[in-house]
Every structure is written in structure tokens, then in C-alpha cells.
């Protein structure tokens, strides 16, 4: 019997606004001027926060920091396409997601200052602490999504991870679970081409990360991660599917980490300036700004207003974060579990952590 092809797959790539700022009118999602500006504001605020955080780190005012420079499009575009009640399971490079969701900036700074209270999300915000172990958060999102199904809750779960995270078993197990249980979850891979010093092509022999979804019966798409509108559209579509009971989607945001892995890294050791310069031209704000200007939505004055506003917000957050009194030593035990053991209570006393 001759070999028969019983199944074929294709991998689609979505770009709506190209590098020069030209948009494909047919693909443009229906967004009002206000919505388009909201995206721009979130991108500017994320970038401003990022710049100031890097400066604070250099002055020793915060600890090691993971820059999101170049990834603002993927972060804000996806975060703003979701509903308020949706659940987010981020990695540590999702500052732009936190900011887009309205997470208080001073709390973000508190986190990076090395203060566990920085990850206490406001009560009405469904966002989990950043996962420091790479990729462990992926299955959490699937479980939360399965819980939405059980509870008949229309909210969905969204998890973010990197190209490195896509090599973890948890990514594969998570996709498989989500496929089997039709869990309302979106897997957003921020393929920024690097996992510290390991380039993307040594992370996997697969040409795209998006295609890995096929193996689990889950739709996957690659999106230009530096096109904020494309990321928005892809996420909105995936969210719609999830809410309609059609199950999970994997979105690979094809982007680039323009800065070092963290402030503890020096990427000039393993990549060239030319590589970075090439991507610099493709970074998400350049094209989005041109797009807005061409549409007559953004002009110099408004741009300045938005930029100034962002500066002001971040500066105020720095003041607020630094004014907060450090946690009391006894807190460390108090937070350990919902109820304290006899021994823990004794420790608080014995260690004189509490007067």
C-alpha cells in the first residue's frame, strides 16, 4: 500500500502593521481612536518604567532587573486584548503586562527592590506573581482554565513564557492537557530569540514554536511580536475562541530581547552589535508611532503629553516605593502558611523578630 498523507499542517504568520508603519486595512481590528491611544500609552508607560528601573538598578536602588525593551508590543498588545476578569500567569519578563493591566507601578518597583510584598496583587486584579522558575507557570494557567470550565465562569486564563520555557516538559504537558480538556487558555510564547546566551535555534530544531501546538491538537500561530496590533488581534481571536468553548490557542510572538538578559548579564559576550541593531529598527514603538501619526491620531503635542505623563507616573511610583517601610522581620514567618505551627510561633518569639 502506498504511503498516504493523512494529515498536514501549516503555520501562519500574522503581521498587520509592517516595519515602516503601513497597515493592512483588511486585517486591522476594529479599534477606536481611544483604544489605539490606550495601547500607545501602555507601551510608553512600559518603556518609561523599564528605562527608569534600569537606572535605579545602576544606582543600587533596586536589585537585579529583567528588561523588556523591544517586547512592549507583545506584552501590551496581548494584555489589552483581554477582559478584566481574565487570569494571568506571567514569567518574570512581563512588566509590560502588569502595567497594561493597571498593576500599581510602585508595587512593581517594590518587587524589584527585593520585597515580597511587591507581588501582592490588588484584590480586583487576577494576576499571579511572576514565576522565577522558567515555565512552571504554564500548567498553572491550564489548571485555572479547567477550573473556569468547571465553574462555568466566562473568564479565561493566559500564560506567558519564553522560547526557553517552551523546552520545559511543563509546556508540552500543559498544551496536551489544555487540548484534551478544551481548557479556555491562551499560551503566549514570547520568542525573543534568546534564553540568556542560548540562541533560539539551539533551543529547538523546530522552525517555529507555533507549530508545536499541532502535536497536541491545539491551534498555533506565529505573530509579529513587534506589531502590537497583530498581537492584539491574535490574542482577541484566541480569547474569543476560548470563551466560546473552543479551547486553547498557542501564540508565538516573534520578537527580540534588545537588552541584556538581566542587569546581571552582558550580552555583548555572545551576540554582535549588528544583530541587535538589525532588530532595533524593528522595535515595536517606531512603527506604531508612525501608524498613529499617519492616521492623524498622534501628533507631537499629544506624544509629549503622553510621554510626560508616563515620566510623572513612574517618578511618583519611585518615591512611593522608596517611602514604604521595610517589612517587619516577623512578617516572614507570618506569611509562610495560612496558619502557623506552634514551632513557627515559638520561632517568632525566640528569634526576637517581634517585640
Amino acid at each position: 500500500m502506498p504511503l498516504k498523507i493523512i494529515k498536514t499542517f501549516d503555520v501562519k504568520f500574522l503581521q498587520i502593521i509592517d516595519e515602516s508603519g503601513r497597515a493592512d486595512a483588511g486585517l486591522l481590528p476594529d479599534l477606536t481612536t481611544e483604544e489605539l491611544l490606550k495601547i500607545y500609552r501602555a507601551m510608553i508607560l512600559s518603556r518609561t518604567f523599564n528605562r527608569m528601573a534600569l537606572a535605579l538598578q545602576r544606582e543600587g536602588r533596586i536589585g537585579t532587573y529583567a528588561s523588556i525593551l523591544g517586547q512592549e508590543g507583545a506584552e501590551t498588545g496581548s494584555a489589552l486584548a483581554l477582559e478584566k476578569g481574565d487570569w494571568i500567569f506571567p514569567s518574570f519578563r512581563e512588566t509590560g503586562v502588569f502595567i497594561s493591566r493597571g498593576y500599581p507601578l510602585w508595587r512593581m518597583l517594590r518587587y524589584w527592590r527585593g520585597d515580597e510584598r511587591g507581588m501582592e496583587a490588588p484584590a480586583d486584579m487576577n494576576i499571579f506573581p511572576m514565576s522565577v522558575p522558567v515555565g512552571s507557570q504554564i500548567t498553572h494557567a491550564v489548571g485555572a482554565a479547567m477550573a473556569m470550565n468547571i465553574k462555568k465562569d466566562k473568564n479565561i486564563a493566559v500564560t506567558y513564557f519564553g522560547d526557553g520555557g517552551s523546552s520545559r516538559g511543563d509546556f508540552h504537558e500543559g498544551l496536551n492537557f489544555a487540548g484534551v480538556f478544551k481548557a479556555p487558555v491562551i499560551f503566549i510564547c514570547q520568542n525573543n530569540q534568546w534564553a540568556i546566551s542560548l540562541p533560539r535555534n539551539r533551543q529547538s530544531a523546530a522552525e517555529t514554536i507555533a507549530q508545536r501546538a499541532a502535536g497536541y491538537g491545539v491551534p498555533g500561530i506565529q505573530v509579529d511580536g513587534n506589531d502590537v496590533v497583530a498581537v492584539y488581534a491574535a490574542t482577541a481571536r484566541a480569547a474569543e475562541r476560548a470563551r466560546a468553548g473552543e479551547g486553547p490557542t498557542l501564540i508565538e510572538c516573534f520578537t527580540y530581547r534588545l537588552d541584556d538578559h538581566t542587569t546581571a548579564d552582558d550580552s555583548s559576550r555572545y551576540r554582535t552589535d549588528e544583530d541587535v541593531a538589525k532588530w532595533q529598527k524593528k522595535e515595536p514603538l517606531i512603527r506604531y508611532k508612525i501608524f498613529l501619526e499617519n492616521k492623524g491620531i498622534l501628533n507631537k503635542e499629544l506624544d509629549k503629553e503622553i510621554t510626560d505623563e508616563a515620566e510623572g507616573l513612574v517618578k511618583a511610583a519611585v518615591t512611593e516605593a522608596e517611602a514604604v517601610a521595610p517589612p517587619a522581620p516577623a512578617d516572614i514567618i507570618k506569611y509562610t502558611s495560612a496558619t502557623l505551627s506552634v514551632r513557627q510561633k515559638k520561632d517568632i518569639k525566640a528569634l526576637k523578630w517581634e517585640k
Partner: protein, 350 residues
């Protein structure tokens, strides 16, 4: 004389005669790199793998330059998959290689617990002694501002719990080299746990290849009043404490445990029998920790039990996760002063 030097000079267990610790010094970091390089040069079955091992920084300098000497076939940077890479390393070990698997942080070693605890540790037993797994796993414990709950744990106790695994924790450059060589040539899986704060420490570091036997603790200071058994980073603090206490007329005997498993039962018991007082200083949590095992060893033996003059004291971490905040770290971690108070208390109570 610096205590690391004393430590090395007291090494009567070195397997090569030509070792002259006075000659050459080096850092803990150099020690690991040298041991790895020497073993790779002498045995082509030895190879290194792990996330970032070929990075220019070379895992805090401990694998630096190996890629240039041995190439990508023997210095393998891997995809981000801790459990997978451990299984792969184990497979290579079963096929006759001596892999050195490097984990930047011990915190992610639990991701490979199935491979380590259910497989690597068990194969020799399950195959009637016909299959051994000569796998060495290096993992690093951190500490410091912002490292926090998932980046600075000290997990020796969980690994020491499994039959079939050996666990070593060198505290000096000399032992770092000798123990790594012993680990690489051991036919069993060995967990080699490093402390990041020791990397810059310098001490005698012979250029030769030499082994420090696994399972032998090191008596690095003699004393008659109190036995302090210290692990990894706590060893230096114990020596500082002993120095201070000596000025107060309390003579401490300090033992650098070096190997967590198998424990050097004899040395522990003989020292406690001599001093009658026991203080254990561990980098890890107190509850269910290595320190508990050491106390149990003292209690289970009639002669040691009889020799005890009072309660043993443990200087180990309280039952809470490692903090991120600076202020919390200050109260969480222990220093020489905590060992001093513990020793004084041990003396007062007996």
C-alpha cells in the same frame, strides 16, 4: 595562619604524596574549573553539560574556557529542560560516560527529582549491582539581596534522604578540587553542592590531580570544650567563632563535614565523646535537616550519649522560605555571632 591553610595541612587523607599545600593558592572557582579540566584531559569519557556551560561567563567562571579546549561535543549547552537533561546525562552515564551535569541553581534540581531519586539512585540496586550510574551533578546555592524563595535554597537534606546517592559540600578550594575529582571517578551518582559565596575564597590549591575521599569529614581545629560541626559556608563562620571563643577561654573543636552522605560517623562521635558538647551549623533549614541527623548520631550511640554534658544546639534556618528583602535576610541568615551564642549556651547549660 589562615584556617583554610590549616585545613589543607591537616589533610592526612590526600591520595597523592606530592601535594604541598604551601606552594600554590587558588580560588574555589578555580578549583572547580581545574578539577573539571584535568578530568576531561585525563579521561575522554568525562564531559560537561548544562544550561549555559559554554557561556563566556562560564557558570560564575567554573566552566570558563572549557568550550574552547574541548569543543561543543564535550561542553554541551542544553535546551531549558532540567528533568530531560538529567535523564539524558544518566543515559550517557549508563553508556559508559562520566557526565558532569551543571545546574546554575540548586533550586531547579527538584525539577529532576524523578531522574535523580527514582532512577540514578536506584539503578545499581535494581540491576543487582550490574549497572552503575557514574553521574556527577553540580548545583549551586545562592544567597543575597533579592535571591529569595526560589533562588537561594540549601537542599542537601532532601537528596541525602535517598539511598543510592552521595552528597558532598566542599567548603574550601582544596576540597572543592579534590572532591570534584573523587565525584567524577565515583561509580555512583554524586551530588556536588557548592555555595556561591565561596567562589572568591582563596586557599591552598595544588596543581596536581588529587582526590579528597567522599565520606571523610575534616577536623580543622582541635579543642576540648565544644564540638562544632559545620557545613559549606558555615565552616568559615565556625572558624571565626572558634577564634573569638578561644580568646574567651572556650576551646572549640571544628569539623568541616565536607560529605553529607555518607556521614563520617566515626569522626563525629569521637569528637563529641571528647568534648561532651555539640553545636551543628548548617546552611539549610533546621527542620528535618542534616543537623537533625547529626544529633541523632550522637544520641544513638551509648558512648557518645554518655559523654554528652548537655543539650546539643543547632544553628540552622527557621522553618520559613528564604526571604527577598534585605531586612528579612538580615534576621534570617546566621553569622559567626550566632555560632558564638550557641557555643556559649552549650557551655552554660552543661
Amino acid at each position: 595562619m589562615p584556617w583554610t591553610k590549616i585545613a589543607a595541612e591537616r589533610q592526612n587523607i590526600t591520595t597523592t604524596d606530592s601535594v604541598n599545600p604551601d606552594v600554590r593558592r587558588g580560588s574555589y572557582r578555580d578549583a572547580i574549573l581545574e578539577a573539571t579540566r584535568s578530568c576531561m584531559e585525563t579521561d575522554e569519557n568525562v564531559f560537561v553539560l548544562g544550561e549555559g556551560v559554554d557561556d563566556v561567563g562560564g557558570v560564575f567562571g567554573t566552566t570558563q574556557g572549557l568550550i574552547d579546549i574541548f569543543g561543543p561535543e564535550r561542553v554541551i549547552d542544553s535546551p531549558l529542560a532540567e528533568n530531560g537533561i538529567t535523564g539524558v546525562a544518566m543515559g550517557a552515564a549508563l553508556a559508559g560516560m562520566r557526565p558532569l551535569l551543571v545546574h546554575m541553581r540548586v533550586d531547579f534540581l527538584p525539577l529532576s527529582l524523578d531522574q535523580i531519586a527514582n532512577h540514578a539512585a536506584k539503578w545499581s540496586y535494581m540491576f543487582g549491582g550490574n549497572a552503575s550510574v557514574p553521574l556527577t551533578i553540580r548545583a549551586i546555592t545562592g544567597r543575597g539581596w533579592g535571591s529569595a524563595a526560589q533562588h537561594s535554597q540549601s537542599l542537601q537534606a532532601i537528596f541525602a534522604h535517598f539511598p543510592g546517592l552521595k552528597v558532598v559540600m566542599p567548603a574550601t578550594p582544596y576540597d572543592a578540587k579534590g572532591l570534584l575529582i573523587s565525584s567524577l571517578y565515583d561509580n555512583n551518582p554524586v551530588l556536588y553542592l557548592e555555595h556561591r559565596w565561596l567562589y572568591d575564597m582563596t586557599g591552598p590549591l595544588p596543581a596536581e590531580m588529587y582526590r579528597v575521599p567522599i565520606g571523610k569529614a575534616n577536623l580543622i581545629r582541635e579543642g576540648k570544650d565544644v564540638t562544632i560541626i559545620a557545613i559549606s559556608q558555615m565552616v568559615g563562620m565556625a572558624m571565626e567563632a572558634a577564634e573569638d571563643l578561644g580568646a574567651d577561654g572556650i576551646e572549640c573543636e571544628v569539623i568541616d563535614l565536607r560529605t553529607i552522605k555518607p556521614l563520617d560517623i566515626e569522626l563525629i562521635r569521637s569528637s563529641v565523646q571528647k568534648t561532651g558538647r555539640l553545636v551543628v551549623a548548617d546552611t539549610a533549614w533546621k527542620e528535618f535537616g542534616v543537623s537533625a541527623e547529626i544529633l541523632a548520631l550522637a544520641l544513638e550511640d551509648r558512648d557518645t550519649f554518655n559523654a554528652l554534658k548537655g543539650p546539643a544546639i543547632r544553628v540552622a534556618l527557621p522553618d520559613v522560605p528564604t526571604p527577598a528583602s534585605h531586612v528579612l535576610e538580615e534576621v534570617f541568615y546566621h553569622g559567626p555571632e550566632d555560632i558564638i551564642s550557641a557555643v556559649k549556651k552549650a557551655v552554660e547549660e552543661a
